[in-house]
């Protein structure tokens, strides 16, 4: 049963990928969906065994590396963290699989798509179930690879290609951190198993500076995968893939891997206060940055992408104050409501004939009320509305942050991003569903609710986003002691959210203010407009991060690569010293030598006589000539 949860997704990926033509599009959909569903049911069983009955399971499979200094086994480890992650991954993935059969119904490459989705799920399961860092790294790289394949699914689109490459490359930057961290761990502990490292941390005297370096490198890996500030640029671009892919990448699997890594390495992080502080600060900044950016995005999916980035900031932030189970809890809730949001967005995009720009939507509440309700539930959960899933984790995160008074600014950044989260959620819903329509007449009239394959996963995810927080809080948060802080502080995030929501609603509702704040403000050229324009451009282009990175980093490295390493070293120095220079010298030398044979008889005679004279007189050439 424990190994089946790994094998079934792999089997479905292989069958759907290799025999996709034989089983057909429908067969591939049914096969992969049912396989992942079985896997989800199994992971429920695993959750029951390992988390509710608190019996951690270790399975040692076979020997992998076996050298004098370093021995590694393929091994599986099912503790409460793994089983919670498994539950999230397989449930969301199963729903995404079912959803994709409806959403991608008219795509000609469904078997390939389903195969990639299943492979993605499999590698994510490998990531969470491994009992050592090397095996975790297989999953880590594997989900990166699968994200490349999935973002690039419509491989004829140049934008999709570029986005996929960007995702791969930016992730590589973080992966280097993880590899270096593994090397440092190996040097420090001599083992890469989690169990060995954790027990060594307790017993032996360890070098704290080295642990700090390890933690920072691990965190670099997490920054790349979980799209924290600095390496976040791939995440919004990953929207080029099909919507179910975005749901899978952003909700359950890929971006959660970074947070998972931090939670998994929590014993290491506990030793290094510096690393924890950095984790908190970067998390808080990410939450704030992504929230401000999300406010002024016009692409439906990008708004949700930036909200993912923001929520990941929350998770990382709370890891920094040593409340890992709260982070896991938020990860779980977030997986449900973010998958719901993405899949509902896909449903809207489906309804308006693949239009993603919110400015070209509007008034869809009458034609797609079901999707409206779904996205309302998802958004309220995201905003931390009381009694929904987001409330249980998000407010707890903010309270726990406030409890660590030395890092109080993170609390305020977090609260302010809660305000902004409410703002952009309401803005999204208002522009898409309530405001007057901007769509073409035939598109607007043709908008309709999607098929059952799409609505049923939405419904299940909506149930998840309502109830998961309440149901799972005892299981996941059993060891968290709620901090004792004043009620005013406790209620501030809620007030902020309400304020943001009401603010957004009133702003977009009133026609006068709406014209100024709307996506296309009135074209008057006064001072206010210019300021607003700059403000808008700054936030709409995500604080100009792409521009800065491309302009100052990527372009310079590119130039260096072309001018220095290619032109000067490769084509210049090495070639002149190497093949081309030598051949040039030899050709010239041989030409000079053959010029000696001029065809003039008297010259030959002269040369003969000179050398005969030298020979007779016993002249010796200098040695080495």
């Amino acid at each position: 049963m424990f190994i089946l949860v790994l094998l079934i997704p792999l089997l479905s990926a292989i069958i759907s990928g290799l025999f996709g033509k034989k089983i057909g599009t429908k067969g591939a959909g049914i096969l992969t969906s049912s396989c992942i569903t079985i896997s989800a049911i199994i992971s429920c069983g695993i959750f029951y065994i390992t988390c509710l009955n608190s019996s951690t399971t270790y399975i040692k499979l076979w020997k992998w590396f076996d050298s004098e200094l370093f021995t590694t086994y393929f091994g599986l480890q099912f503790d409460s963290l793994t089983s919670t992650m498994l539950l999230v991954i397989t449930c969301v993935s199963a729903l995404v699989h079912i959803y994709s059969t409806g959403y991608m119904a008219r795509d000609p490459h469904i078997p390939r798509f389903m195969s990639y989705l299943s492979l993605f799920t499999f590698l994510m399961i490998v990531l969470v179930t491994s009992n050592n860092y090397v095996q975790l790294f297989i999953g880590w790289e594997g989900v990166g690879l699968c994200s490349y394949l999935l973002i690039n699914f419509w491989l004829t689109r140049i934008e999709a290609n570029k986005a996929a490459m960007k995702a791969m490359f930016v992730n590589r930057v973080g992966d280097i951190g993880l590899v270096l961290a593994m090397l440092m761990i190996l040097k420090e502990f001599g083992a890469l198993e989690f169990a060995t490292i954790n027990s060594l941390l307790v017993t032996s005297a360890i070098n704290k500076e080295n642990i700090t370096i390890i933690c920072l490198l691990l965190f670099l890996g997490a920054v790349g995968k979980s799209a924290q500030l600095g390496l976040h640029t791939w995440l919004p671009d990953a929207m080029e893939g099909p919507t179910p892919v975005s749901a899978l990448i952003h909700a359950a699997t890929m971006v959660t891997a970074g947070v998972f890594l931090i939670i998994r390495s929590s014993p290491l992080f506990e030793i290094s206060p510096l690393a924890l502080t950095i984790v908190t600060i970067l998390g808080a900044l990410t939450a704030f940055f992504a929230a401000t950016t999300g406010v002024l995005q016009n692409d439906l999916k990008k708004v949700i992408a930036y909200s993912t980035c923001s929520q990941l900031g929350y998770m990382v932030m709370v890891c920094g104050v040593s409340n890992y189970s709260t982070s896991l809890f938020h990860l779980m809730n977030h997986a449900f409501f973010k998958a719901l949001l993405f899949l509902s967005a896909g449903s809207i995009i489906h309804a308006v004939k693949d239009e993603q720009d919110m400015r070209k939507m509007g008034g869809l509440i009458k034609s797609t009320p079901f999707t409206y309700i779904m996205i309302l539930i998802g958004s309220l959960s995201l905003m931390g509305f009381p009694y929904l899933a987001g409330f249980y984790s998000k407010d707890l995160i903010l309270e726990l942050i406030y409890d660590k008074y030395y890092i109080a600014f993170a609390y305020w950044l977090g609260s302010f991003s809660a305000l902004l989260t409410a703002f952009y959620s309401i803005r999204l819903m208002y522009i898409t569903f309530i405001a007057n329509t901007n769509a073409k007449k035939e598109i607007f009239l043709g908008a309709h609710e999607p098929s059952k394959n799409i609505t049923i996963p939405l419904l299940l995810l909506a149930l998840g986003s309502i109830f998961v927080g309440y149901l799972a809080k005892e299981a996941v948060l059993s060891n968290v002691i709620p901090p004792i802080i004043s009620n005013t502080i406790k209620i501030i995030p809620l007030l902020f959210s309400l304020f943001g929501a009401i603010f957004a609603f009133s702003l977009y509702n009133s026609t006068i203010v709406g014209r100024i704040w709307g996506p296309y403000p009135a074209q008057d050229k006064n001072q206010n407009w210019n300021l607003y324009h700059k403000f808008y451009t700054f936030f709409n282009s995500a604080w100009q991060f792409n521009y800065i990175i491309n302009h100052f980093l990527v372009r310079n490295i590119w130039k260096f690569g072309h001018l220095i390493t290619y032109r000067v070293i490769d084509r210049g120095l090495l070639e002149i010293i190497g093949p081309r220079g030598i051949s040039k010298i030899f050709i010239k030398l041989t030409q000079n030598m053959s010029n000696l044979q001029s065809g003039m008889v008297f010259n030959y005679a002269l040369i003969m006589i000179i050398f005969t004279t030298l020979f007779i007189s016993g002249y010796q050439f200098p040695k080495g000539f």
Binding site: S594, N595, L596, Q597, S598, G599, M600, V601, F602, A605, L606, I609
Partner: protein, 100 residues
């Protein structure tokens, strides 16, 4: 005895022959004649040394050299005539077809 004077004359004759080959660029006959001169000087040196050393082998060699020289001249002149018949000139300068 005037051994060194004879020797000097022989060597000078040889050098004149060499210079005749090297410096001459116009006439193939002069080249042949220079070769004859070189052979002559060598014969002279052989004879001188044969007298001085009181050894008969030098004179035997001289006779052989004379024979060889005669044969060589005959062949050389034959080549020259054949060459002249084809090219219409006997300038050494024009012997440069086989260039490296």
């Amino acid at each position: 005895m005037m051994y060194y004077e004879y020797l000097t004359v022989g060597i000078i004759l040889f050098i004149l022959g060499v210079l005749g080959i090297v410096l001459n660029r116009s006439n193939l006959i002069i080249m042949l004649m220079s070769i004859e001169l070189m052979l002559l000087s060598i014969s002279l040196l052989f004879l001188i040394n044969s007298i001085v050393l009181d050894n008969l082998i030098g004179q035997i060699f001289t006779i052989m050299i004379l024979t060889v020289a005669a044969a060589e001249t005959a062949i050389g002149l034959a080549i020259l005539v054949a060459y002249y018949r084809i090219r219409g000139t006997i300038a050494v300068r024009s012997l440069n077809i086989l260039r490296g």
